[in-house]
Structure formats: C-alpha cells, structure tokens
C-alpha cells in the first residue's frame, strides 16, 4: 500500500491525539468501528456556546484511519455543531487522496464526528 504524503504526515505527526474528560457535560464522545474489523475511532469534542473549542482523537487502525481522524479533529475546531455535522467523508477522501479500498476510513471519521455531536446533545438535553 502506498500512501499519499498527507496521510504520511498525519500518521507521523498526528494532530490532537489524546482524551478529554468524558464525564464533562461540555464534552461529546463518539466511538465508532469494531476491533474485529481492524479499526476503532474515538473522537471527542469540547463544545462551548454551540462552537467546537477543542477536539481530541485516539484511533486503532491503519495509517489512513489515523490520518482521517487526525484531519477530522483539525477541521471541526472552531466550527459550530451544524457546520461540523455537514463534513462529508468525500471531503476527507479528497484531502488525503485515499484509494477506494480506504474509503471506509473516511466514513468512519464522518461517523465519529456525528456520534460525538449526538453524545453531546444527549448529555445536554
């Protein structure tokens, strides 16, 4: 498997790796994927006044999965929940030049954003 330079860059220098306090009311956590499938993403968003102030991820998966989640944390920061909800996996595919066999990595990243937002909304109903 040959990787695009952007995937290699995110793999070597992942942005925003880590965890936020999942019990914090301002933190939404999304965990998607399954170990048996070879990829699990955890994405956390810290939201204040409807805007994503901070984002963290941890990913078990191939280089493309790590890069997709790293990129997602960069993109969501500073966005409103509605804006973040609009991020499409195809934008991630294009940005990272993912080959067809790796498209599921970008789908997972999109799902992780949506899952984290849903978790936040549920907490703050």
């Amino acid at each position: 498997m040959s990787y695009s330079n952007k995937v290699i860059d995110h793999y070597n220098n992942p942005r925003n790796v880590g965890s936020l306090d999942k019990n914090d009311k301002e933190v939404g956590t999304g965990v998607v994927g399954a170990p048996e499938c070879g990829d699990v993403m955890k994405l956390q968003l810290k939201i204040s006044g409807g805007v994503i102030e901070d984002a963290r991820f941890k990913t078990f998966g191939c280089g493309s999965a790590i890069a997709s989640s790293s990129l997602a944390t960069e993109w969501v920061k500073g966005k409103t929940l509605d804006e973040a909800f609009q991020i499409k996996n195809t934008e991630i595919v294009n940005e990272l030049n993912l080959p067809p066999v790796k498209i599921h990595c970008s789908v997972l990243a999109e799902d992780a954003i949506k899952a984290a937002i849903a978790d936040y909304k549920k907490k703050n109903e």
């Binding site: 498997m1 793999y11 170990p35 070879g38 990829d39 955890k42």
Partner: protein, 404 residues
Amino acid sequence: MKLPIFMDYHSTTPVDPRVLEVMLPYFSEKFGNAASRNHSFGWEAEKAVTLSREQIARLINCDPKEIIFTSGATESDNLALKGVAEMYRQKGNHIITAVTEHKAILDTAKRLEKEGAEVTYLPVDKDGLIHPDEVEAAITDKTILISIMLANNEIGVIQPIAEIGRIAKEKGVLFHCDATQGVGKVPVDVQAMGIDLMSFSAHKIYGPKGIGGLYVRKKNPRVRLAAMMDGGGHERGMRSGTLNVPGIVGLGMACEICEKEMETETKRLNEMRLKLQRHILKELDEVYINGHPEKRLAQNLNISFAYVEGESLLMGLNEIALSSGSACTTATLEPSYVLRALGIGSDLAHSSLRFGIGRFNTDEEIDYVGKRVVETVKRLRDMSPLYEMAKEGIDLKSVQWTQH
C-alpha cells in the same frame, strides 16, 4: 548497517552470490538446450542439469531421476494435486488437506472440487498443528491423496510429516508435501518421512525466482501423474517445456549450500529469533506469539501486538521489510486465514507481524528491529482507544461495537 532492512525471508530471498556465480555462464556461453542430444552445447547443458538433480537429491534423500523441474512451488502444487486427481480418478476422488495450507494448495483443491473431487480440509489446533489421528480418521476408501505442508509460510509451524507419511503408507494413499518453506531449513528425508510427492522452490532458499521442482516417487509405489503441460515430453513426460538451465543450476547450488550449512545457519538464526523475541516480550505487555513455540522454523517469529493494527505498525516501521496478517494489507479486507484457523480473534489477527529472518540478517539488525518495533508499538498504543479502554479495566468483549 544499511537501511532498509529486509526481514521478510518467507516471501522471497536474494540470490546467494555463490549461486549467482555458477548460474552466469549458463545464460551466455553455455546456453545449450538440455534436450539437444547431438552436440556438445546440449551435452554441456544436460550435464549441468544432471548435477543439479544430484544436489537436490542429496538434500532430500531421493534418486536424482525423481526430480521434475517446474517454474516454482505453485506449479508443483498444481501438478501434484491435479495430476494425481486425473491419473487416479478410477481409484477415487477424495483428497485430504488442511485449512492452513498455502493458497496454491487450497485454490487448486477448490478447483478440483468444482470438477467433482471431494476435499476434506482438516482443522489445526491452537498452535497450528495437525493431529495425525485426524488425518487417519479422514481417510475413506475413495481417498487418493493427502497433501500437508512441511512448514507454514505465515507462522512457521512444522507439521508431523513423518507420522502422516506412515499413516499414508499403511492406508495405501499417496502423500504430497508442500515443503516450500521447509526444504533447506530443516532436514528433509523423503524416505524416512514417507513422502511420495514434494513441492519446493528455489527463491525461498537463496536461489533464483521462476524455478522449482516436484519430487515424484519412482518406486514403492511408482507415482504416476497426468501432465498439465503437453509438448516435447520432457521430465519423464510429466512436464514438457525446455528446461530453464540457468535456473536449474542455481536451484542445485542453492540446495548444496543449504545441505552444507543448514546446521550452523539454523543455530545462528534460531539465536537471533530468540533474541528478538526476548526483547519484545521483555519490553511490551500483551503480546502473543502465534504458532507452536518450539515446533517451528528457526527463522520465523509471528507476533500479535494487542490494541495496535498491523498495517499502521508496518507504516511506522517503513525502513524494515516485514509482513502483517492484517486485512488492510490485502485486497479482501479479511485478516489472515491462517491465524483465524488457530482460533485467534480477528482483532489479534489484525495486530500481527511476521518476521522472517534469513541468511543475510545480522545481530545488529536484530537489535535495531527489536528497538524500533517496541518504540512503534508504544507510540501507537498511546493513540489507541482500545489500549486506553483496556487500561481503564473495560472488557473489550463486552462493548457494543458499531460494525461496519
């Protein structure tokens, strides 16, 4: 020490300079066709081919005339299975093999099933071993062939070939052994092991690609094969086609070197493997060795690193040539069927690395690889949500994952 480091010797090997040296004249000045009976160019080529047969025969304890040259082990496996299935059709249609065999066997067996053969795929235990009593129990009055590999290409596990050979003899069933990963690395004696047909390949033992062989027993019993390739009737009519003389010369020399150096080389590589294994086990928790700990090739180490994914590991180790059982390295997105057959969960199969240590690896390289593997696994575990959850005491098996 030069980078990149090659530690994937199960996939292929470089040609040993001593092998290359004896091959070279056969490309140019000694270019004759070994089948040309009426001039010195042909005689010279035939003589070289005869010497190669003798070198191979010494390594596996057979008669030189029992060697059929092919393009490699895949062709040998195809010829053995298809050739026996066709030739012995009157006697029966049942073949016994195992789930951890190489695809050259499994896909050939599947093809034969489509054409009416019955195939039993024996399971293996958690160490990857076949139990000979299960082979015996699978034999029916329709069984014409048992095909079991000597050493596994992924986990290096060595099967109890002599015991299976004894059962085959008792029951009067032909026994084929795919010895591609074993020949030249462990002692092989087709008489003592009761092998009737055996596949092997040059490029796994420091010979060139594109040449291999099939041992076909000539007496007790005399094995007959339907040819797959029709033509000039070369190789006792079992495999037509002009002989690849330079390749054959290289294969012979590769076998001779293995025969002479096997003992010292095995000892050296075994120590190197154990050193690598000790280092990894000392520095990392939750790592699992795949395959039987002792009944395996000295050259093979297959390890699962829980909570990190194999392809991302390889990406972090991109100056080292290794392979992984991770699905992500294949087009099918299925993790290694060999590891799955051992009862290893998909999660750990995705997390495996295969180290294939070989003739040209050095102690310094082993130290370097050990250090880099440990550091990369640690880095990836730091960004693994699974490692974090496990450390928090969450049972990953109890989590409701979202399948995709």
